[in-house]
Symmetry: C2
């Protein structure tokens, strides 16, 4: 569940106008390399290209849960990245169809075992969980905006999921702690079993209880053209791998974090969903080998 939308993205490498974006777009495409079907719940307007939905379906993404509102436009975000791509400014946010989004899971979706709640209001995330029948493993994303504006309902959703996937700044705001090791303990105490803190170009940390911590590096890439969607692509790869393997152990979750990181590394090499449409097992496995080599040492 998440947005399926348009982005206008400026980076030092170019300007993508009306590019395909949205959390659920990135999540579902990334997950589609690991399991099928990927059931998307979202909402779009009359302007979203049928061609893209067709491409998603051809990758095993079920778009039945994407509601079309004929007289409105799709969600739109415009942003510009700094020279080094490590900061971005939002130039425009048009909610459009998202303003009244009330997610309804098609009957076939309700028994989905692996659920990824993309970043939206905690209330909308809760509504999805209300309709799900005994999911095995639930992950959610959130952002600073909901910590500022919907704190109580955010703290109600968190204990209902298994893993929260947020970035370092979000973890710091949510916990009030700067050191990520301390932040993680406070956040786990909010009722979570697992916590993933994404650090962008600096990798990702997976926390579980007091001393279980795993660090996945980011690949040092020569070219990063557009960081948009990297976090959602990470989440999609992570959840896709979890759903494929059906193994909820910490050991397997580490592998899922590496797969998520690998998928994110592809995402940022081109604008929009460009790379996510043309991957295959061979490319993914080769990149997983690069991650393995990157941190491998023997004592």
């Amino acid at each position: 569940m998440g947005t399926v939308a348009f982005d206008d993205i400026k980076t030092p490498y170019g300007h993508a106008e009306m590019a395909i974006g949205g959390a659920a777009t990135y999540i579902s495409l990334a997950a589609s390399y690991f399991c099928k079907p990927v059931n998307v719940v979202s909402v779009i307007g009359h302007d979203f290209p049928e061609e893209t939905l067709q491409e998603m379906r051809s990758r095993g993404v079920n778009t039945d849960g994407i509601k079309v509102i004929p007289d409105q436009k799709s969600f739109f975000w415009a942003g510009e990245y700094s020279d080094n791509l490590n900061a971005r400014e939002t130039l425009a946010t048009e909610l459009n169809v998202l303003a009244d989004f009330d997610p309804v899971l098609p009957q076939a979706y309700r028994t989905s075992e692996y659920i990824m709640l993309g970043n939206l209001t905690p209330a909308v995330q809760s509504k999805v969980l209300d309709q799900a029948i005994e999911p095995k493993f639930v992950a959610m994303d959130t952002m600073n905006f909901w910590m500022d504006t919907a704190w109580d309902s955010l703290l109600e959703v968190i204990p209902r999921v298994d893993v929260l996937i947020i970035n370092d700044e979000e973890a710091r705001q949510l916990s009030g702690e700067y050191a990520l090791a301390k932040a993680a303990q406070k956040i786990l105490d909010m009722g979570l079993t697992y916590l993933i803190i994404k650090k962008g170009e600096h990798g990702a940390l997976l926390f579980h209880e007091k001393d279980d911590v795993f660090f996945a590096p980011a690949l040092p890439l020569s070219v990063v053209k557009d960081p948009t969607g990297a976090g959602d692509t990470f989440a999609g790869g992570f959840m896709g791998y979890m759903a494929k393997t059906e193994d909820l152990s910490f050991e397997n979750m580490k592998r899922a974090v590496i797969y998520g990181s690998a998928m994110a590394s592809f995402c940022v090499e081109e604008f929009s969903i460009e790379q996510l449409l043309r991957l295959d097992d061979e490319k993914i496995n080769a990149r997983i080998q690069q991650f393995t080599q990157l941190v491998h040492f023997e004592l």
Copy 2:
């Protein structure tokens, strides 16, 4: 070779006045856990405590190469860290004895096989190498200031060493490239076999030729009190391990980077050299295990 000096350090955790500092102090103490003797070349004034030199000697550090200038004061640096410790402001720099530092290697030092050139003017670093007789492995540190003020002599020293150990901002300035993968290739082309780029709380990268790259994480610590000396402690641990093992292979250098990272993780937990005086093999090995666990996964 490097400074043996005083620091005045303010961090959110306290204020250390006239604390023991200096690159060579951190480097030699860190290295002393792996090999003996560690021969220090430096210069101090009348004010440097004999007690500290005695502590260094008791750890196997040879202080014969530390010249004492009776009528001058030791090098002094004062700085204040930001709330999050990720930025620091220099409040004072008093060169004192360092102004005319002309390093002279005692006869017994000249056949040292492993040489670490701490951050000082490239001309001083060159003078040390001029006196060394066929060293096996030479590492050097440098900083932005020398790139601004001594570019040509910096580019003359670099090809004389085996590994350059700098931080990410220094690598970016030295190469003119933001992406570290690109920066590394440009810097290696300046005549190096190996390059280590330290990223502080985000770990360290070891580069060797086109595709050999290794990433060592930083440990997510609950408390970081004082980052001063972390980079020098890393270098000392790295070089100490290299000298102990006498194995110049890339595989062994990876281990050395992990040992350097472990030593740096101890350094930042307390002010000044406090932690570096009270470690032992048991503590070091336990921390190495934490690093191993942190990145370990099996496909």
